[in-house]
Amino acid sequence: MGEYALLYILFAPFAGALALIFVSNRQPLLVRSIATSAAFVSLIASLYLFYAYDPVKGGFQFIQKYEWSKQLGISLYLGVDGIGTPLVLASSILLFAGIFVSWHIKDRTKEFYIWLLILAAATIGVFMSLDLFFLYFFYEMSVIPMYLLLGMWGSHTKKYLEMTDAEGLKQRDSVGFIFNFGSNSKEYAAMKLVLFLSAFAVIALMGILLIYKYSGLNTFDILVLREQANLMNIPALGTTLDKIIWVLVFFGFASIAPLWPLHSWSPVGHAAAPAATSMLHAGVLMKLGHFSIIRVAFEILPETTRELMPIAAVLCMFSIIYGGFVAFYAKDTKYVIGYSSSSHMGYVFLGMAALNYISLSGAVIYMFAHAMATGMLFAMAGWVYDQTHTRDIPSLGGLSNKMPFISACFVVGCMASIGMPGTVNFIAEIMIIVGSWNKYPLQVIVAMLGIVLTLAYLFKMMRGLFYGPMNQKYSHAHDAISTVDRLPLLIMIAVSVGFGIFPMHLYDVVRSGVDPLVARITLVVPVAETGEGVGMRSKATPPEKTSVPQAAHTPISHTPRVSRGGRE
């Protein structure tokens, strides 16, 4: 029973979507209960998965393999390691929460839940695929539901996206502007999202096909390719093939992450999407990028990764700062959170770029933590929008009188997003910062500035929404009173704070996935580590030459306390 956990997690939402096809829209309660139970099965199974995953044993567990196409060398090969497990859990938590967040959708309820379930199932599928084909299969499959969810249940972004600074001067996302055709409609946002993601997905597919061809193994099996594929030192186009493949795969998947300057589809998409979609989009869809880079580029091309990952280290600075500043000037609540997400994804790239045990574990935990934090924020922005039908921050205010519960939760959401101690974000952030310091001190300083920026724009938004004088137009707004409305927020807060206080299992699981990977990447040709002891004390950053992963098993729970001083 237990070994089939992955199948339950993956196929419960699909089965729910299939069952929903046969239900009429005139029975909304039945529709919602089917969706809820499908998500619930998935959630329970992934909780089981998370706690049954054995971090001591490590490696890929709960493996399921079914041959799918002999001619092409494809099998439905599922399995999770310490990196996939928390992300699967995050996806199913957000799906479950998202179903409650969108409880009040009246228009075509059935279709909404069908597409939401398919979207979540597809993202979950990516996190557990051990076959390049299925990784791409699920990746591409998650794009079309986004189009329909945005287009059918989204909202026009109107004039909200115009930004002004303190003097009233117009600001704009100039990078986004390159691809911006000036439209504020949801159709535009949806189309931009699909075309952007598809365009970069096919770039990644090109990389995957090149891996397939040059490995000569006639298989898409990641584990086989990782062990046997020899892609090094093949000259091509004036450089070597492995570099070309790496760049194709990296930028193909980085667009969904979204790495600056490929981010412009993302905030627009967030702004147009309904709340539950934004939650899944920011919470897990964006992590598909990092995850796929880890799975494909890190696993199959470890040496090239070590050589080329500084690209990410450079671009992530722009991500962090740029996203932070745009978020500061933005007036649309979801736009702020959207840019904040794309800024925070820069931290993950920083953690990945530093390529050591602590920083990469931090990056993975950050993905999990950010899913919860941004999920909360989007859920609450969605609630405020449902009540007031505006997302324009300047026209809102003083809502804390009307919705004390929401505003209290919002404070928690902001705290989590900033990375206050006590939330899991704090642990993740500190690990990234500590782990990257030796290699990328400049980036770490930028990341700290990013934290200050986060503080600034989130507090600015909080003040704009909940405090100050109240606009009487919105006096009819009310709080989330019923269990259905409060449950999703409470779940996400509980997870965020719970893992913030008891991170050991999460940490062990992540470490068990990260350790062999980092060992592979850094061991192939040992790198002389000169920056030892430059900043943080060496206890937190084991020397990268350490060949036995177990030697790096320093309990991280001490680390935050040791290095707290570096944060403010």
């Binding site: 287009g151 075309l195 061809k213």
Partner: protein
């Protein structure tokens, strides 16, 4: 050359499907004449019943591996021929079912319509078996004859007449090219049967001859630069005929192309790869870019069809056993998606009376089933998982990348994104825009059956392709003799050329 026709009764077994179909065609015709009061839809069901029986017979052939050649190698029945015959008959059945309602629009000759459709199918079945240049010519013209009439079946409709005329003039021109090409090839080699030509040397006359033959077949499949007739003809023809035209003749022509390129010209592969690469790139890019500007759904599907043919040509350009598998598989995926999409167009056109994309506004509110079906068909055409089109595209790309056709694959991948745009424009009309007239759209039962078959095919092939890949792999086994095993090792000096 002497002809000696020693035929036994068991030889005729190879022709059994064609003989049965001819008999059935006569039966339908006689029933139509002798029972003038019979509702014409009964004729449709009668034809479908006969076709089903023949389909069963072909299935039996396939299971028992019946194969052989007839008439001095003019006619071959191998597993690939059986595959294409099943394909064509399946398409014919679906088209007949989809036309039952539409036929009421015709003022005259409603009964003959079904006979003509079956006749065209008969011609295409011969095309699937054509094994020398003469039988190619005869069967090709035989099949096209039926279509000349079918395209202009709406006698009072100017567009239909215009489409028919264009199709006819260009078709006859293509036939001329074909005949000239055949005469050149015969003059150079003295041979007509494909497998005999395999050993000949490339002379200028031979090359020109084959180029002419390729041009004429390119006309049939609608590849750029031989595509000029496609949009107007597809637009003007009665929609069920467009459906038929968009799938069956293309498949039959691909059967011939596969035999010509892989059997007759297998040794000249380095010469023709670049030709196919160029045609494929042109077709994909032109078809997809022009499709963006279309306002009429039939024209949109016409241009998308041009682009799809470009995709199939990638598999042919790979020129390997796997490439031919991919061609067959892609055609299978294309069959279900395309017939399904056209079936929705017929159903909507029947209710609204127009075929503009604008008319699909809010289709999701008027008929959720039609909108959902159309969504899946279009996404399958675009190549989105988990639908058949995605597996088809991937199969083709894998076959091509093994041969190192990087430029072609890059163009193909970019074209997926371009095509996504215009398919999604239709999706946007159906799902996002609100309907002007929210009255529900009804669907007749045969139409529902066609759409269900299309949906089932699109989803099953996409989710569990193994039986279908097995089928296409076994269908093209004989190519393994003519083309060596695929060149997996590419000279490392220039791996990113081509």
């Amino acid at each position: 050359m002497t002809f000696s026709l020693n035929m036994t009764f068991s030889d005729l077994l190879l022709l059994l499907p064609e003989i049965l179909l001819t008999c059935w065609l006569c039966v339908v015709l006689i029933v139509d004449f002798s029972l003038p009061r019979l509702p014409k839809e009964r004729l449709a069901y009668l034809s479908v019943a006969g076709l089903m029986a023949i389909l069963g017979c072909l299935g039996w052939f396939d299971l028992n591996h019946i194969s052989g050649t007839l008439f001095n190698n003019m006619f071959v029945l191998d597993r690939m021929a059986i595959f294409f015959k099943i394909f064509i008959l399946g398409a014919t059945i679906l088209v007949i079912l989809a036309s039952i309602e539409y036929v009421n629009r015709f003022t005259f000759f409603r009964g003959e319509y079904y006979c003509l459709v079956v006749m065209a199918a008969l011609g295409m079945m011969f095309m699937a078996s054509a094994n020398d240049l003469l039988s190619v010519f005869v069967s090709l013209e035989f099949a096209t004859l039926g279509f000349y009439i079918l395209v202009s079946y709406l006698r009072d409709d100017l567009a239909s007449n215009e489409g028919g005329l264009k199709f006819f003039i260009l078709g006859v021109f293509a036939a001329g090219l074909l005949a000239y090409g055949i005469s050149l090839v015969y003059g150079e080699t003295g041979k007509l049967v494909f497998s005999d030509m395999a050993s000949t040397r490339a002379t200028p006359g031979l090359i020109i001859g084959f180029l002419l033959i390729f041009a004429s077949l390119g006309f049939k499949i609608g590849a750029v630069p031989f595509h000029a007739w496609i949009p107007d003809t597809y637009h003007g023809a009665p929609t069920p005929v467009t459906t038929f035209l968009s799938i069956a003749p293309k498949a039959a022509a691909f059967a011939i192309l596969l035999r010509i390129f892989l059997v007759a010209l297998g040794t000249f592969k380095p010469l023709w790869v670049s030709l196919l690469v160029a045609v494929s790139i042109l077709s994909m890019t032109y078809g997809n870019i022009v499709a963006i500007a279309q306002r009429n759904i039939k024209r949109l599907l016409a241009y998308s069809g041009i682009a799809q043919v470009g995709n199939v040509l990638i598999g042919l350009a790979a020129g390997t056993k796997m490439g031919s598998d991919a061609v067959l598989f892609y055609l299978l995926a294309y069959l279900f998606a395309n017939i399904g999409a056209f079936a929705v167009v017929i159903a909507v056109g029947q209710a609204i009376g127009r075929d503009e994309i604008e008319d699909y506004r809010g289709l999701n509110r008027r008929s959720p089933f039609l909108a959902f079906a159309m969504l899946l068909f279009l996404l399958s055409l675009a190549g989105v998982p988990p639908l058949a089109g995605f597996i088809g595209k991937l199969y083709i790309f894998v076959a091509a990348i093994k041969e190192g056709l990087y430029t072609l694959i890059a163009v193909g991948l970019i074209n997926i994104v371009i095509s996504m745009y215009y398919y999604l424009i239709v999706v946007k009309q159906m799902y996002i825009n609100e309907p002007v007239d929210p009255s529900p759209i009804g669907i007749s039962n045969p139409m529902k059956a066609v759409i269900y078959v299309g949906l089932a095919g699109t989803l099953v092939i996409g989710i569990y392709p193994q039986p279908f890949t097995d089928w296409v792999v076994s269908a093209t086994l004989m190519f393994a003799n003519f083309i060596g095993p695929s060149a997996t090792v590419v000279p490392p000096s220039s791996p990113l050329g081509g």
